[in-house]
Amino acid sequence: MGDRRSRSAVATRRAPVVLFELLDGGRIALVTLNRPERLNAYNVAMRDGLYEALTAVRDDPHVRVLVLRGNGPAFSTGGDVAEFGSAPSPARAREVRWLRDVWGTLWRLPQLTIAAVHGYTVGGGWEMALLCDQCLAAPDTRFALPETSLAMIPGVAGTQSLPRLVGVGRAQHHVLTGAWLDARAARDLGLVSRIVPAARLLPAALRVARRAARLTPGLLARCKRAVNDGLDMPLDGGLRLEASLAMPAVVDKPARRTFHGQTAVSLERIR
């Protein structure tokens, strides 16, 4: 597995609920949800551990790819119902989500993000995977958004990420009914790039990660921006974005510096 830096607990708890490792000389970050006895339900400790790990990845220019996975029988069953209703007030809840914006941080990472999912991948767990750039799934993976059955709206960006990936009708179907989706159906919809036997899920995700990590960091980040940011633009704007991001890759080093400046200017114009 190459250079594997020592495992570190990033949440302070007897059994850390989030594990953070750097592999391959620090080029690949492996973040593991580690609350298997609760099917990796997302609680306050996991929120804080994930935020610490994701911001560490964000601030480390050596990391090129993030792999996110879950320990135990499930990837994650989303928000821990034991904590539902425990926010001091709706206003405070909104403030907390703003102050510790785990999902915005995950979505905005410049690194390639890969979710390796298995078992129940439900509610916030599925929405976490939807925020990643790629998703590999074990054959036993079961996806659903059950929030509406609890009189809640999917609150981990699912109402925004899912329609962008499968279209409005299918997204509304899953948001409103909580209908189950298995790994094969998810692959057919384009939500899962590959189905891999559970025992080979992590090695497969790391193979994808290593291939991507061989690209220069700047190229990887520009490709990601072209695809992700372009989705929110009209085609004309997306084409201009792609042209701007493509330029630095084809010119020599001294000129590249100039083009970086021009790219920044043209991106500002697009915005």
């Binding site: 830096r5 020592s6 570190s8 607990a9 990033v10 953070f20 490792e21 750097l22 620090g26 609680n43 306050v44 929120r47 804080d48 935020y51 610490e52 790990a53 560490a56 601030d59 480390d60 220019p61 050596h62 928000g79 821990d80 904590e83 539902f84 209703g85 425990s86 926010a87 001091p88 405070r92 809840a93 909104r94 907390v96 989500r97 102050l99 510790r100």
Partner: protein
């Protein structure tokens, strides 16, 4: 000079990234850390501090002006301008559900 975005090494193999820079010097005890891009190495036998710094943790100077992120764990008595750096703890926040 502790430079923003630069990586520094300790004699014990700990490695950090500067996320907020400043004019002072990072050290492991009394031994200044080396910038990773300097090409320099610690002389054999340079002592390392005993505190185990963990991957992903952040430390700040006593006045909060300088911050670093540990990106390779290892032993180090981390100081900034001779003053021990403090583990930066996240502010406790309640559930938002």
């Amino acid at each position: 000079m502790t430079q923003l975005g630069k990586i520094y090494l300790s004699p014990g193999g700990m490695q950090l990234i500067v996320t907020k820079g400043g004019p002072g010097v990072l050290s492991d005890g009394d031994t200044p850390l080396l910038r990773a891009d300097s090409g320099e190495k610690f002389p054999a036998g340079t002592p390392a501090g005993a505190t185990a710094l963990q991957l992903g943790k952040r430390y700040k100077s006593s006045d909060g002006a300088v911050e670093v992120l540990i990106n390779k764990p290892g032993p180090c008595e981390l100081r900034y301008d001779g003053q021990a750096m403090e583990l930066k703890e996240a502010k406790p926040l309640p559930s938002s559900d």
